[in-house]
């Protein structure tokens, strides 16, 4: 089946919904294609909040926010993006409120704000209340509110459609191809502009806070076209995931005063970040935890976790502001934060890297300013490089809103100016071929086994601490897994709701993301932000203050070509010199 819209949005998480809304406001006809019902998107899992310098609780300024973002990103953040972001987000948060988002309130009735890791006043002096929150389900509220507004605007949704291909010809995006889960049919969507907002790919790791459906589909599709993925080596491990499960415990627990303790009951963060202790940014806390565990001070049967201690907080805070996480700990661990210490462990959480874009979301085709006309990206899957080498908590929801909005506006504007470009004769050819190959493959390999091996090996070899030999081994492992993937079997011949086929397809996407990540990480011989190499322990601004661009070598399967892109070291009005990152 064939459809035609001015603007197509792929993905209905925070970024996709915001983009769809703004594209519609820009006067375009808009459709949103999503492989899940929109309200199932993983944005709903975000708990902590959305950072904006409203100053409702304490004095705050966007410049401070800009600085924190750049410092948090270990100076790999593009400063123009950070400036736009820190300014725009204030307005964007008010706008969410005007859309009805039920924020928690201060006694005066303003949007409530709380402290969050890495957010400081006066360029790093002390923690500041910057995270606007709706209890501890801010992401849920954002997702619901934005979906509601799209219902109001009458956005057309194609639910449970899996995008399988992008149609890019002569440097211009002409549409997408999608597989309809319910019927097994292939649909083609012709568009003037396409916005990609399909979320992250945390599922390549064994312990992750990400949904089972976050498999990096669109990144991989982009990458398979020989287009670059930026900064893939930077992957954030959130320090506080429920032990073994990876389910996220919001950073808000540290914001509210939770304390990390090792097996001796010691508040070990005092040693690693003397000034802000437990409120240090995620990469630092994660590494501190792993160090404690490695040095034998872990808790639990495998001594691979540490405790978070909330027992000194009043019950109302734990059950009120931290209700969600209290519920999770009670449900899954049978531990009650009011009186128990809860076992936590770092969990794969957030991709700083992804499809490179400029500050309007336009997708870049190389590190030298080339772009794909009519193709935009926003959200976790994009890399405007706001987050640099490490994202600050609450900055991702902000990213969705600010850059989702910009991408939506830019796409609608572009769509107003141009005519539809022709679709190729049979745009669905490749998708059909891929799917039919999967269906027909009568191999003996089980997709689930390959996936499990991928997840375990990525966790071990490209996890929180990295080194050359391990990653070199991982490159080989991925090649091997890709070989085996070719012989994966799909036993369900059905057309309707063939989830086996979908999972097999998603595994293919995951393998690509892992490949790009491992190659990028192996290539970067320094430690910066979330990328920590045991064999290159220092940050190296002389050689490495630049973005990685990973390209699939279309001529040599399994090989990755690495290019670079400059870091924007100046904003429009402010610039922050790279300094050592201490807290």
């Amino acid at each position: 089946m064939h459809h035609r819209f001015d603007v197509l949005v792929v993905g209905a998480g925070g970024a996709g919904l915001m983009a769809a809304l703004y594209a519609a406001k820009g006067g375009a006809s808009v459709a949103c294609i999503t492989k899940l019902y929109p309200t199932r998107s993983h944005t709903g899992a975000a708990q902590g909040g959305i950072g904006a310098a409203l100053g409702n609780v304490q004095e705050d300024h966007w410049e401070w926010h800009m600085f924190d973002t750049i410092k948090g990103g270990d100076y790999l953040t593009d400063q123009d993006a950070a400036e736009v972001f820190a300014k725009d987000i204030i307005d964007a948060v008010y706008e969410l409120e005007h859309m009805g988002l039920p924020f928690s309130r201060t006694p005066e009735g303003k949007i409530a704000q709380r402290k969050f890791g890495g957010h400081t006043r006066d360029f790093g002096k002390a923690a500041v209340e910057r995270s606007c929150y709706a209890q501890d389900r801010t992401g849920h509220m954002i997702l619901q509110t934005l979906f509601q507004q799209n219902v109001k605007e009458g956005t057309t949704f194609y639910n449970e459609f899996h995008v399988t291909d992008l149609i890019i010809e002569e440097g211009r995006c002409r549409g997408v191809v999608a597989y309809h889960y319910a019927t097994g049919e292939i649909h083609t969507f012709h568009a003037k502009a396409v916005i990609l907002a399909a979320g992250g790919y945390g599922r390549i790791f064994k312990i992750t806070s990400n949904a089972l459906t976050l498999t990096g589909d669109l990144m991989s599709i982009y990458y398979r076209k020989g287009l670059p993925l930026e900064d893939m080596e930077f992957y954030q491990f959130h320090p506080t995931g429920l032990a073994k499960l990876g389910i996220l415990v919001t950073e808000g627990i540290r914001g509210e005063g939770g304390i990390l303790r090792n097996a001796d009951g010691e508040r070990f963060m005092e040693r690693y970040a003397p000034t802000i202790k437990d409120l240090a940014p995620r990469d630092i806390v994660s590494r501190s935890i792993i160090t404690e565990i490695r040095e034998g001070r872990g808790v639990g049967a495998d001594k691979d976790a540490v405790h978070i201690d909330l027992t000194h907080l009043p019950r109302e805070v734990i059950e009120g502001k931290l209700a969600e996480i209290t519920d999770l700990a009670r449900t899954y661990l049978g531990q009650d934060p009011v009186k128990d210490l809860v076992a936590i462990q770092p969990t794969a959480h957030y991709a700083m890297g992804g499809i490179p874009t400029d500050i309007n979301g336009l997708c870049l085709s190389d590190g030298a300013g080339g772009s794909i006309e009519g193709l935009y990206a926003a959200g976790e899957q994009a890399c405007v490089s706001l987050h640099g080498a490490n994202r600050l908590g609450t900055n991702s929801l902000g990213d969705l809103i600010v850059f989702g909005r910009r991408a939506g506006t830019a796409a609608a504007q572009y769509a107003r100016q141009v005519e539809y470009a022709d679709m190729p004769a049979d745009p669905e050819r490749e998708s059909v071929a891929t799917l039919e190959a999967l269906r027909a493959a009568s191999g003996k390999e089980n997709a689930a086994v390959i996936r499990r091996e991928l997840q375990e090996s990525m966790m071990n070899n490209v996890g929180i601490f990295r080194n050359g030999p391990d990653m070199a081994r991982q490159v080989e492992i991925i090649k091997d897994l890709k070989d085996r993937y070719r012989h994966v079997s799909v036993s369900d011949p059905g057309r309707r709701y063939n989830s086996e086929l979908i999972e097999a397809m998603e595994l293919g996407f995951m393998l690509d993301c892992a490949e790009a990540m491992t190659a990028s990480a192996l290539n970067r011989t320094e430690s910066r932000g979330a990328h920590d190499r045991e064999d290159y322990h220092e940050r190296d601004d002389v050689n490495w203050l630049k973005h990685t661009m990973a390209y699939k070598d279309l001529n040599k399967p399994g090989e990755v070509l690495i290019g670079y892109k400059d870091v924007a070291l100046k904003g429009y009005t402010h610039a922050f010199e790279p300094k050592a990152r201490v807290y």
Binding site: G44, G100, G300, A301, L328, A343, D492, R496
Partner: protein, 250 residues
């Protein structure tokens, strides 16, 4: 720290054997639904979703169900587990079955089964759309936020927590027999706006609630409240809406 209660290590829960009995149906090949049983070795602290994934990944790849987040936040995996509606990712094995026992898993009721545990959600979302599920305030917004007291914000605390999983609506005996009832989920959504001090469409929403398909169909069976994975006091909310309609009209 000596007086502090250090928890047991909950990750080393005892292994258990269970028979997972699933109501399967593939309209492409089957005439009617049938039960299939899969013996599984698992841990007491495993989620039911883990068990279903195990069956799907290693035993019966054609088994079909929805799932995404894996921790009770996205609302994909509502199903009838051991006779009650729940999210598969939010129940632990030890809470629904004993070692050596049988665990039944069926699709939720009242919506058309498309394949195995996966049902057609469109009627459910149609009801959702029917209550005008969006904030309406046409007066120009202030430069900053609209002011709302913490107490006013609290009025929406429960109803805004809904993840649209349909556990409630498909547990309601009134909904099973006649899909025309909007159902508890839609009412919870309406409540979220009706009791939002900033919203201006209260009257229209109450009118929708006042119709034959609205709140009056609720016969206070409480299945919805028992089923809600977000612990929303749904029946209380429905009763509040009933009263609001009554006071509005009088």
């Amino acid at each position: 720290m000596a007086e502090q209660h250090i928890p047991l290590d909950t990750h080393t829960t005892p292994p258990m054997r269970v028979n997972v009995k699933i109501l399967r149906f593939n309209p492409e090949t089957d005439k009617k639904p049938h039960w299939e049983t899969y013996p599984v070795e698992a841990q007491a602290s495993d989620r039911v979703l883990d068990v279903l994934n195990y069956v799907k990944w290693y035993v019966e790849p054609t088994l079909t169900f929805r799932r995404s987040c894996g921790h009770g936040i996205c609302g994909s995996d509502a199903m009838m587990i051991a006779g009650r509606n729940r999210l598969a990712c939010k129940v632990l094995l030890r809470d629904v079955v004993k070692d050596g026992g049988t665990l039944t898993v069926e699709p939720i009721r009242g919506l058309k089964v498309e394949k195995d545990l996966l049902v057609d959600m469109d009627p459910f979302f149609d009801s959702y759309r029917a209550i005008m599920p969006y904030f309406i305030n046409e007066s120009p917004p202030p430069a900053g936020e609209r002011i709302q007291s913490p107490a006013q914000a609290d009025r929406m605390q429960h109803s805004s927590n809904c993840i649209l999983c349909a556990c409630c609506t498909t547990s309601c005996p009134i909904f099973w027999v006649n899909g025309s009832y909007l159902g508890p989920a839609a009412i919870v959504q309406a409540h979220r706006f009706i009791f939002d001090s900033r919203d201006e469409a209260t009257n229209q929403r109450l009118n929708i609630m006042n119709q034959n398909t609205g709140v009056w169909r609720c016969r206070t069976a409480y299945n919805c409240t028992e089923a809600c994975p977000r612990d929303i006091p749904i029946t209380t909310i429905i009763e509040e809406v009933k009263r609001a309609v009554m006071y509005q009209q009088s």
